[in-house]
Amino acid sequence: MTPTIDSLVRELKGLLTPENVLSDRSDLIAYECDGYTIAKALPDAVVFPRSTAQVVAVVRACGRAGVPIVPRGAATSLAGGCLPVGGGIVLMLTRMRRILKIDVESRLAHVETGVPNIVLGRALAGTGFHYAPDPSSQGASTIGGNIATNAGGPHTLKYGVTLNHVVGLEAVLADGTIVTVEPIPDPAGLDLVGLLVGSEGTLAVITKAWLKLTPDPQDYRTLRAIFESVDDASSAVSDVIGAGLIPAAMELMDQGIVEVVEQAYGFGFPKDAGAVVIIELDGPSVALDSQQERILEICRRWHTREVQSATTPAERELLWKCRKTAVGAVGRLAPSYCIQDGVVPRTRLPELMAAVVRISAEFRIRIVNVAHAGDGNVHPILVFDERDADQVARVVKAGEAILEECIRLGGSITAEHGIGVEKLALMTRQFSPSSLEAHGHIRSSFDPTELLNRGKVLPSPKVESGR
């Protein structure tokens, strides 16, 4: 520990009390990475503030010491957004987890950002409203983490991403100033909420949020359609959107992932299915059957082998369980996996899926796929053994090849996971130098010394040269 860090840790212990500051190496190992396990770095210390005032005190102390901060929630992020590049202080928001107010009349929830997504969901049960963003990590991920990455989820298709549901924020800027944007529409000013959502903790530490609540649907129809090929399945998805239908969700799983899920949980899927698509319609009961019939017709046009419909809430839950547990089941295939996140215009999905197959063969890396197909958002899961350096290198290259293909097809290198450290190099391929300069203007306006989450979103000279 350097003298600067040593002195800072002592100061932080004084500010937060010693039990809210970790600095022993054995304690820090748990904070060396997030869901992107390919990259790891130990922080110098981890702090657990319990209030905005304590966050301000930590930010100011770190600012004075010139030691960078990584704001962090549950670290379920998948692109290394929580990686303490070059050390620094990990600022945990997980102990700021109060739901401050649920105001059904105003359709708002006011929360501290360490609240797990699922805890908010449970608190809203029975009110007639819910918080719509439902990333697959929602059992653990926090509202703050969801905001930092502008998280999506299966129901993004109809309800939009996190940004569409955040209407106000309290944030601590890099100089310790607190900015509060109240949940009141206001033409007088720039859209700071819009800038902060998805900024991966690089512009401010977001401490509180006002979230928009969505009325619960009156009813659902949840279908599981089995197709002979990924091509047929993605063509059917594209046709559903083309027919003017907007289901609540359309989730695609390819044969590789279906096989693993089946081995792990035995949901009763045919292991030779080329692809499975889970389609959910929601809204007033009166119109669901006719929409379902139109979807069935499209599925038949694409040679669906079988369509099963959930007839009870328990059956619906089971269908969703097989989707939401899919990624976890991948652990059976190999010691490590890397979940990619790319997005293309919806109609280009079949082309992207075909490219993933080619890339898998070219780099000799097994890839299984889940996709928020209705949005054109694919999550190829690359399985490997991280103890094998050659495999790791091929995984990185295969991942880049997939994302290059997304760019070529008119899409983006990330839909909902963010840039983190994983995709930094690809930013120069996604954006022109002048566009990157514009991104740099945002960064430098908020945090000129790059105190917050240094080395994320944009390449940082400070990281390359060491702080």
């Binding site: 720039l190 809204g283 007033p284 009166v286 514009a438 203007h441 945002i442």
Partner: protein, 412 residues
């Protein structure tokens, strides 16, 4: 031109022309006032320097419309009406009603974001902006966002430009997310005596709000200005429902039966009334038969959603003659006032105090050119977060050549 009295007007027809115009103006030390259809020029502080008008009306092409992707890329000068007609051919729409759609342009709407009736359900126009092409105040061209519906790559520059009134850059291209056009629309109205009755009506259908695009209360002169048929009631509730035919039919039955059980007399608008009412509400208060730019002061008040009715009441007390539309569930009230016996600045001070008393904020959406209101009068007192906004402005337009004096930047 009433607002800028430009030293000259440039009307480029391509992006290169926009870049040249901005760079040239910068070299000559001239301020640039970008314009679209000219329908929202009344919004913003009085221009604080002489400059040139940069009309984007000539950039009006549809660049790419992959309908099955539910996205469209257009040049900024395309009118909302032309956009709507193109989308309608594919059974799609942009569910955001912009006043005077026959003249208002896409770029102008993104820059000025007028309040519109469907925000309760459909969100704001900025929720539909997926990508932008920009020429900033240095004449540097860049793109923001992309053409996909989900995109987490980098900072959301599209949000920076939405609603920034042309002060951060000139928009030269817009990619929008569009939606399938609803199969059916119904409008149910109900005459009321008090605002509280309106609040009660909204409460009865709030939980079925999935199909409710708008719940507005018309009061004062707005009753006659918006309703197609004459009404003697001081307040009229308007519920707009969009969805599939079966859904809308079901929802209409629910609304009507629930309001009847509340001892009200709901009325279902017929087809002709429905379309006229929707269009008048979208235009409010800038519709041609309603708005007099030489006399009217249009204000937008926003407050806590729970205080929307109180906000309306305070504004009615401030100006008993005002024409008001209250957007329940959004916390927004739009009022068209004619303070003919009072100085506009003094009227705004009173109105702002009334709005503040219920935790709201007031912004002027249009004022008579003779009033020459400054920034503080239009947008209210300086706020802490404007310091941050100013830092952004300084990077994208370091010489303050874009729309100087019109937005929150700089001294009044």
């Amino acid at each position: 031109m009433r607002w800028f009295d430009p030293v000259e007007t440039l009307a480029p027809t391509d992006v290169t022309g926009v870049v040249s115009a901005v760079r040239d103006a910068r070299e000559r030390g001239l301020v640039v006032y970008p314009t679209g259809g000219g329908t929202a020029l009344g919004f913003g502080g009085w221009p604080s320097a002489k400059g040139l008008e940069l009309s984007l009306a000539g950039l009006d092409k549809i660049v790419d419309y992959p309908a099955r992707d539910l996205t469209i890329t257009v040049e900024p000068g395309l009118t909302l009406k032309s956009l709507g007609e193109m989308l309608a051919r594919e059974g799609q729409w942009l569910p955001v009603g912009i006043p005077n759609a026959d003249r208002a342009t896409v770029g102008g709407a993104v820059s000025s974001e007028p309040p519109y009736p469907g925000r309760l359900r459909f969100g704001s126009l900025r929720d539909y902006v997926l990508g932008l092409s920009i020429v900033d105040g240095r004449g540097v061209e860049f793109t923001a966002g992309g053409r996909v519906v989900k995109n987490a790559a980098g900072y959301n520059l599209c949000r920076l430009y939405s609603g920034s009134l042309g002060t951060m850059g000139v928009i030269t291209g817009v990619t929008l997310m569009v939606r399938p056009r609803p199969g059916a629309t119904a409008i149910v109205t109900c005459s009321l005596s008090t605002l509280e009755e309106g609040k009660a009506l909204f409460s009865t259908i709030r939980k079925d709000a999935a199909l409710l695009s708008t719940f507005a209360l018309l009061s004062g002169r707005a009753v006659a200005q918006v309703l197609p048929r004459a009404s003697a009631s001081p307040i009229v509730a308007v519920a707009i429902l969009d969805g599939l035919k079966e859904e809308v039919g079901w929802m209409v039955d629910r609304v009507i039966s629930s309001w009847r059980s509340d001892q009200r007399i709901p009325e279902l608008a017929d087809e002709a009334e429905r379309d006229l009412l929707r269009s008048r509400l979208s235009d409010f208060p800038f519709g041609p038969s309603v708005f007099d730019p030489e006399r009217d002061l249009v204000i937008e008040a926003n407050g806590p959603i729970a205080a929307t009715i109180e906000l309306t009441a305070r504004l009615r007390e401030t100006d008993a003659e005002a024409s008001l539309v209250t957007h329940c569930g959004c916390g927004t009230v739009v009022a068209c006032c004619r303070p003919e016996t009072e100085d506009p600045t003094s009227f705004l001070t009173r109105a702002r105090a009334a709005v503040s008393s219920v935790g709201g904020r007031l912004c002027v959406r249009s004022y008579p050119p003779g009033a020459r209101l400054n920034r503080d009068a239009v947008f209210g007192p300086v706020r802490e977060e404007w310091r941050l906004a100013q830092r952004l402005k300084d990077r994208f337009d370091p010489q303050d050549i874009l729309n100087r004096g019109r937005f929150i930047f700089g001294a009044p």
